[in-house]
């Protein structure tokens, strides 16, 4: 095929968008809404996952140390805790820090009373241990209990189990919703492109009668679908960005809520703009181009 022929076919595809503007607009709208629906579901899913992870991060094992433990034993315990495969972070919390934290929340009168007891601080030294996998929290707790110098271990294993269940349910629901939406959108898009191509079946038929090859007929449809797909992706991206930023501000203004879920749990659009842009453009282009090209197949069998 000559370069000029390729140029002609590309030009034909581009001009067809305008020549068949009503159907192009219908396809554009359907694709835009579909991309936004799926995109928002995915974004909601990853944010909910992030929130659950944020809550999980606050979930830690408290290792209470023996009262008469030496500094060397404290240090060696730190090393042992760090060596555990499921442990992501270990921080030491001395009995003095614990005392200060308790006193901090008291009234002036209570503080005055407490200063007499400061020298007999009954609180223990502790390690706060964060785990990487909540499902293994119980096993990690049992391992810590065996270490020398450990008086007792407090771990919210039932809460951890609940969180794991919540996370699994959230993942299942969001994946199901996204999958269902993708299916619904594909059916709608496929019907729209079929209608669009059906309206031009005579055109395809004429092309076949004058001896055009299937590729010659398909290329302009492919280009046309691709242009509509890219336009829809850009439109959907702009709208998603706008709506997402608005929602982000609304959620971040809810201070109490943010305290519960963690202020960094929600993704700002700037953090995810690159993968979102790539996914929107790739999905729009692929669905637009392939949807239209596949739909022409039925009318090529002349």
């Amino acid at each position: 095929m000559r370069v000029s022929s390729v140029g002609y076919l590309v030009k034909q595809g581009a001009t067809s968008v305008w020549k068949n503007r009503m159907m192009s607009f219908a396809s554009f709208c359907i694709l835009l809404v579909s991309l936004m629906l799926v995109g928002f579901s995915v974004l909601a899913g990853i944010n909910i996952s992030s929130i659950v992870s944020g809550i999980e991060d606050k979930n830690e094992i408290v290792v209470i140390l023996h009262d008469k433990i030496s500094d060397e034993q404290i240090d060696s315990l730190y090393v042992k805790l760090k060596e555990l495969s499921n442990v992501s972070d270990v921080s030491f919390y001395s009995k003095e820090e614990a005392w200060e934290s308790i006193v901090e929340g008291m009234t002036e009168e209570e503080k005055n009373f407490m200063q007499y007891a400061e020298n007999d601080n009954p609180l223990p030294d502790t390690y706060r241990v964060k785990v990487s996998d909540l499902t293994l929290m119980e096993i990690t707790t049992s391992q810590i209990k065996t270490f020398a110098g450990v008086e007792s271990v407090q771990s919210p294993t039932s809460f951890a189990d609940a969180l794991v269940s919540i996370r699994n349910i959230v993942t299942l629901i969001s994946s199901t919703v996204v999958f269902a939406l993708i299916l619904v959108c594909l059916v709608i898009i496929s019907n729209t492109t079929r209608t669009s191509v059906h309206a031009r079946r005579k055109e395809i038929n004429i092309m076949k009668y004058v001896g055009a090859t299937n590729t010659f007929i398909r290329v302009p449809f492919f280009i046309e679908g691709m242009i509509i797909g890219i336009a829809s992706a850009i439109g959907a991206l702009v709208l998603t960005r706008f709506a997402y930023n608005e929602l982000y501000v609304v959620f971040n203004d809810q201070l109490k809520l943010m305290n519960i879920i963690g202020s960094n749990s929600l993704y700002a659009f700037s953090e995810i703009s690159f993968p979102v842009t790539v996914c929107y453009l790739a999905a729009g282009t692929l669905i637009g181009a392939l949807g239209t090209t596949i739909s022409t197949g039925k009318y090529l069998k002349v």
């Binding site: 095929m1 000029s4 004429i206």
Partner: protein, 228 residues
Amino acid sequence: MVEFKDVSVTYSSGVDALNKINLKINDGDFAFVVGSNGAGKSTLIKLILKEIDATEGTVIANGYNLKKIRRSKISKLRRTIGVVFQDFRLIPTMTVYENIAFVLRVIDAPKKYIKTRVPYALELVGLSDKMKAYPDQLSGGEQQRVALARALVNDPKLIIADEPTGNIDPELSYDIVELLKCINECGTTILMVTHEHNLVRYFGGRVINLDGGKIVFDEVVGGSNESK
């Protein structure tokens, strides 16, 4: 050259459209195919264009044995045949120029050739001034002449005209057949399917009459215009 050897076509509905047809149309022939509805005229055309397959027998068109032709070669076969339909079948979103140029683009013709050949074809059918018009801006007769220009632009060996005068004024019908006769004089084989016996009587030539899927008459008859 088109040849039918013992060709029969039975549709899936059980209708016998053609029954043991034997027919040979030589290069440079001009033949009218006449017959009532359901006689098998359209089936004959569909077979030549490889739109359908013969149930029995062999069809040879422009050197291609249509029984053995590969699917990928069908487009090549169709490039050797120009087709004029009753309903014109022009692409509505393309101008007159683009409709005709499309046929040349399909065969990968150079740009320069397209630029000279399309105006030439339009000049032949007397529509040089309608190059930029869209099909819906033309009358039925003009659209049919565009379809004719499209059929002849790539210099095909055979032009099939399927009821080309069916959708135009009777007085313009004679112009269309006149044009086909002119094209035939340059060596192109013409196969014209028609219902209009007046035209056949006027122009004369080879007349193939189909009835119930069989050829009941195949002879050269004199036209009334020849006696004038």
